[in-house]
């Protein structure tokens, strides 16, 4: 309980100023622990300067800011032709140059290079080719991801996407996808009914629950880019079905099946044999399964000890143990991509906040604090951020946060959104 108090007090200051409006914290270029990067004006041929400024430079800056590991130097920049030393004195650790060109048929070409200003030697060089259907802003995403990859060893997530559920009419929800920066909204399903709980396999295959036939059914893609088809039940219908989640290797689907006595159980469907196996014991509510990255353990929510709490078990149902201790309502566990953390939501004073449980430490950390509710956490592929829904501006919208909870950004102003999932875009 002291944890709550400290957090609450700490964040009271922040909340008073920031939580009332859209909270987009602008990074200072000199903030510690971030690499400071400066960019000379990109040289472009076949593209007009306005397009380069808005669709490339501004996008790259935002991508790097949101990466949390690179800050883009904005002030006191030397002239474009200035020597490396001048850039170093201006505070830049890396100096980025980019040469863009658009050919007559619309294909894009980019050569990018980065220089370590202290050592005065190249640290990064890469050429990008994209055909004409790829927007210019995607080149900025690819470059940002590779720069982050060069720095941290793991590619960034600027080109990643968020898949989510959105209400399109009362009682009608469909699955949508949007770029990590809120651009490029695409509708993925058109069932004209309640369609919920999307899950995306590593190879991009989608699965979800739809009520299009009256009772819920699990639909999805059996093969990459294949048609959406019914995956479960193979025959008959009628029981409650929810929460499909692809296993990390993409061959199994964990899901939840309810019975007529009010129990709901974690099941695992083997796509190769179409055989489903029950992992929990028909003892109250068991739901919200989440695989660990090895695919040999599952986290889930169960009310077997009273209110909802987070439990872990092996993928055969053995070695069941409770993870969450404090709080009367802990749910929505999501295992982090490297397996060391579990994000979940906890109810405190009538609203919900995001928490991260560090398995190594055996301790939970509160991520969000505020007067509003934050729900449905999902990890970014690089594990540096969480995407979640919040009603802080009224209707349920999608936000991202870093793990400090101090850098909360609204993904888009789309209302009526739920169940976001974060996937790599390339």
């Amino acid at each position: 309980m002291p944890r709550f108090l400290v957090r609450t007090l700490l964040c009271a200051f922040v909340a008073s100023g920031l939580w009332a409006q859209q909270t987009e914290v602008v990074l200072s270029a000199t903030s510690s622990a971030k690499l400071v990067l400066a960019m000379t004006s990109p040289k472009a041929t076949g593209l007009d300067d306005t397009a380069v400024a808005t669709e490339f430079t501004a996008v790259l800056k935002r991508d790097l800011d949101e990466s949390g590991v690179i800050a883009m130097l904005q002030e006191g920049l030397p002239a474009d032709g200035a020597p490396t030393k001048a850039w170093k004195e201006a505070g830049a650790q890396w100096l980025l140059t980019a040469r863009l060109s658009k050919s007559a048929n619309g294909d894009l070409h980019m050569e990018a290079a980065a220089l370590d200003t202290a050592a005065d030697k190249g640290v990064f060089t890469r050429t990008y080719n994209a055909n004409r259907i790829v927007p210019l802003r995607y080149l900025a995403h690819y470059l940002a991801d590779d720069l982050v990859g060069r720095l941290t060893g793991e590619k960034g997530v600027a080109s990643s996407r968020i898949v989510f559920v959105r209400q399109v009419a009362p009682g009608v929800k469909e699955i949508f996808q949007v770029d990590r920066d809120g651009a490029g909204l695409v509708q993925l399903t058109r069932h004209g009914s309640l369609t919920l709980s999307p899950t995306v396999a590593a190879d991009g295959r989608l699965a979800y629950v739809t009520y299009k036939g009256g009772a819920p059914e699990i639909w999805g893609q059996r093969r990459k880019d294949g048609p959406h088809e019914k995956l479960f039940p193979t025959s008959g219908a009628g029981s409650m079905l929810s929460s499909p989640v692809w296993s990390p290797e993409g061959k199994r689907l964990a899901f939840v099946q309810g019975d007529r006595r009010g129990n709901s159980d974690i099941m695992v469907l083997d796509l190769a044999t179409n055989r489903a196996r029950r992992l929990t014991d028909g003892n109250g509510i068991n739901t919200e399964p989440s695989w660990n990255p090895n695919g040999n353990q599952l986290g889930f929510t169960s009310d077997r000890e009273g209110g909802p709490q987070v439990f872990l078990m092996q993928d055969d149902g053995s070695n069941l143990r409770r993870l969450t201790g404090e709080g009367l309502y802990n749910a929505s566990p999501t295992w982090s991509p490297n397996g060391a953390m579990v994000a979940y939501v906890s109810r405190f004073e009538g609203k919900f906040d995001l928490f991260v449980y560090k398995l190594g430490e055996g301790k939970a950390y509160q991520i969000t604090t505020g007067v509003s509710t934050s729900e449905s956490p999902a990890w970014s592929p690089d594990e540096r951020h969480l995407v979640f829904t919040s009603n802080r501006f009224g209707s349920s919208q999608i936000f991202t946060t870093d793990l400090s909870g101090r850098k909360i950004v609204r993904l888009s102003d789309l209302a009526g959104c739920q169940s976001p999932r974060w996937i790599r875009g390339r």
């Binding site: 709980s197 009772a215 709901s264």
Partner: protein
């Protein structure tokens, strides 16, 4: 020439005699003539001639023709009379059949109308009973226990299902917006099951129910306050 006065008259006599004494008619000829006269009689009747116009009345040599003609006329008259009578009978029968059919149709229409009226009345009664019985029950936050004041409602649903043995009902469990989407789907399932179990204890066959959970996906009311939440934490009952 002296014998001529004998030969010429003799020749004349022989000639005339041979002419006058024709051989008697055979039975076939008489039969054929009778038939021919019969046909003429039929034709005469059909042509509208009177019986007295028999052309063989004075043919004393051929009484069979006179008889045949008269028989033909009589037969034609009898046939016509019979045909006329048959036609008249048929017309009368047709009129009667039409009248009978109309009466039957009227009767059927009346029966149908009565049946429809009765059906509409039954449907109205059924709808009234449905609307009266199938009302929502409500739950406490994160709970799926049947509340004391909803027991009468469930008893009403059980009575309704006993009164209408063909009726089937879907129980839809719903939740308020607080809590996760997935947990609320499971909780909605639990709430639907709670009503199902209770109705079973009231003696209704559980095969007459289907259950479904909408979790917090289909709220009746979308404001973030208890007055709204308490409406949303519900089981809905719907004819299936």
């Amino acid at each position: 020439m002296r014998y001529g006065i004998y030969i010429v008259p003799a020749a004349i006599v022989l000639t005339l005699g041979s002419l006058a004494c024709k051989p008697p008619k055979t039975a076939e000829q008489i039969k054929a003539e009778t038939q021919a006269a019969f046909n003429e009689g039929v034709q005469a009747f059909n042509d509208g001639k009177a019986r007295t116009t028999n052309p063989y009345l004075n043919d004393k040599a051929n009484p069979h023709k006179m008889q045949g003609w008269s028989d033909g006329w009589d037969k034609a008259q009898a046939d016509k009379t019979a045909a006329d009578k048959a036609a008249a009978d048929k017309a009368a029968a047709d009129v009667k059949a039409a009248a009978d059919a109309k009466a039957a149709a009227d009767r059927a229409a009346a029966e149908e109308a009565a049946r429809k009226a009765a059906e509409a009345e039954r449907a109205a009664a059924f709808k009234a009973a449905t609307d009266k019985a199938l009302v929502n029950i409500h739950f406490d936050y994160d709970k799926s226990e049947i509340k004391e004041n909803d027991r009468a409602t469930l008893q009403g649903i059980a009575d309704f299902l006993k009164a209408y043995p063909a009726a089937k009902v879907e129980i839809a469990g719903n939740c308020d917006e607080r809590g996760t989407n997935e947990y609320n789907l499971a909780l909605g399932n639990k709430r639907a099951a709670a009503a199902l179990v209770y109705l079973k204890t009231l003696g209704v066959d559980e095969a007459r129910f289907t259950t479904i959970s909408y979790g917090k996906e289909k709220p009746l009311c979308t404001e973030a306050k208890e007055a709204c939440w308490s409406q949303n934490r519900r089981d809905e009952f719907k004819l299936k």
